[in-house]
Amino acid sequence: MAQPKTIIDKIWEQHVVHQEENKPDLLYIDLHLIHEVTSPQAFEGLRMSNRNVRRPENTYATMDHNVPTRERHIIKDAVSKKQMETLKDNCTEFNIPLADIHHPDQGIVHVIGPELGLTQPGKTIVCGDSHTSTHGAFGALAFGIGTSEVEHVLATQSLWQETPKTLQVHVNGELGTGVTSKDLILAIIAKYGVRFGSGYVMEYTGDAIHSLSMEERMTICNMSIEAGARAGLISPDNITVDYLKGKRHVPGGAAFDEAAAEWLNLATDEGAQYDAVVEIDANEVEPQVTWGTNPSQCVPVNGSVPNPADYDNPNDKDEVERALIYMDLEPEQAIQSIPIEHVFIGSCTNSRLSDLRKAADIVKGKQVSGDIQALVVPGSQSVKDAAEKEGLDVIFKTAGFEWRDAGCSMCLAMNDDIVPPGERCASTSNRNFEGRQGNGARTHLVSPEMAAAAAIEGYFVDVRKFTAAVGG
């Protein structure tokens, strides 16, 4: 019998163009996603060397990082405008399909790839964005690259890559009521740190993972990079196949059945070996809130901020102290005593229709507390349309939320959606780095449900109080 293989090994073997000793493999890239921020210098490089785009039909572009989320017909920032116009010109010149700011398919690149069915199991997918790991939810090998590599893929449709080491992240048990896949990935990173995935491609396994919807899986794979792994994926199963059926770029009819059979065959074989394994019990995961300036600085909502005095290693102690100063928190302060001024529901981590539905369930019939600024930024224009058809926009607006157009928005605050210095935001995004949401801004990462509950209460609360699920 053939040696059992992981899905990572299988996808890799199917994409090796050239292999020789003491050299990385030349790996074929099936899908190259592009956005306005990390591509202009790559196109300029092509022009300077008189090179062309090898496979424009395997390339797809959109505008997301920079785009305004209201009054989109006026882009006030001249530099942003130039960057968007440059993308448009580059796509025209090189014949690349583009969903620009006015296109109905526009949205965050990691939301629209799956939505359009561009993202499929077994594909190698790259983008000049570290959250490309999101597409791993479909059993694709998807990872972020720099601009030099963007240029390389444009010119050659391939990349030199070392065979990755494999890491199994096994999740036992099941998530409790009111506990989300966002809480699970935050708990994994809190347990194992921000670099345990470095040098690896991770596969998330276990019943707790395979019982999740595709949108929940995307939230998990999205944050693989916050654990240091360029790519994190989940073997395809029937939930994957069902999601993809009928998507625009997915084959139909008999071709679909054939593709589906191939996808399911990619799943990791029984008995396949990984280079490393970590485990977590989903039953023990509670709603999470980050207190610091990296995603591992995170505790359950019923917990409190750590005390630097409890750390022996001087560098660790220093890191915690610096984080508390930046975040303006006291040692051992209870998470539920932290008041907030902003709420952001959005980003490639948590801006899909199911995220908005769950947040809307919490806010329905309630009011945003005091003068909190609360934003809902759908991940794509089609998520926005679908949400509006269900009346979610009305629920949010009635509760005092602002309802915006699609984009990366306040996750990285490249557009006008900025948290002012010293102010505090409950955010469904992926990074609580210093200054991420605005210079001096203080970010706490949470699930959409927890963000919605915080908007209503004005400070962090256990969302299970709202769902009346605590203790049963």
Partner: protein
């Protein structure tokens, strides 16, 4: 890309773990469509107050580190966003070598693509360097063919680097030109899948 073979220079120590690319180059500077001119924005929010005046409490503003070309950092250096603007800013500021106990994968690759030499040493070795660089004017000489780092007092360490990355840096190759010599194989691969 400019080749790097040997380099001798002043060390700037940055004793922090998990320095992310949002700190190396904050997002407000990612809107430019050029590759050049990012050095002025390096560590911007740590280096400057809101009004643009330099902060005395950030060590890179200390005149003793003026002209430094070797940055010694902490664990997981360059984590977070894939923005290549981070190595562009480091290079444009004047750094040729970055030494750390561990690097984020994408950042490491991005350095090599731009002719910056990333060197991984043990945390004992980097902590010793950081201490010396904080106390004195500390210079190091780096030899890529030999894979060594030496100081003036006779201390030295060896480092590992994958042979492909080493060759790229030593020759300053245009990687795309190298790959295009395999164009026939790429064509054959595509034909086999068609």
């Amino acid at each position: 890309m400019e080749a790097i073979i040997k380099h001798e220079g002043l060390v700037y120590p940055l004793n922090r773990a998990n320095v992310d690319t949002d700190q190396i180059i904050p997002k407000q500077f990612l809107k430019r469509i050029e590759r050049q001119g990012f050095g002025q924005f390096l560590f911007y929010n740590w280096r400057f107050y809101e009004d643009g005046t330099p902060r005395d409490d950030f060590s890179l503003n200390n005149p003793k580190y003026e002209g430094a070309s070797i940055l010694v950092g902490g664990e997981n250096f360059g984590c977070g966003s894939s923005r290549e603007h981070a190595p562009w800013a480091i290079q444009d500021y004047g750094f040729k070598v970055v030494i750390a106990p561990s690097f984020a994968d994408i950042f490491y690759n991005n350095c090599v693509k731009n002719g910056i030499l990333p060197i991984q040493l043990t945390s004992e070795e980097t902590q010793a360097m950081i201490k010396k660089a904080e106390e004195t004017n500390y210079t190091l000489s780096v030899d890529l063919p030999e894979q060594t780092v030496k100081d003036e007092n006779g201390w030295h360490a060896t480092f590992d680097i994958p042979s492909y990355q080493k060759e790229m840096l030593l020759n300053g190759w245009d990687e795309i030109a190298v790959t295009l010599t395999f164009e026939e194989k790429i064509n054959a691969f595509e034909n086999s899948k068609a």
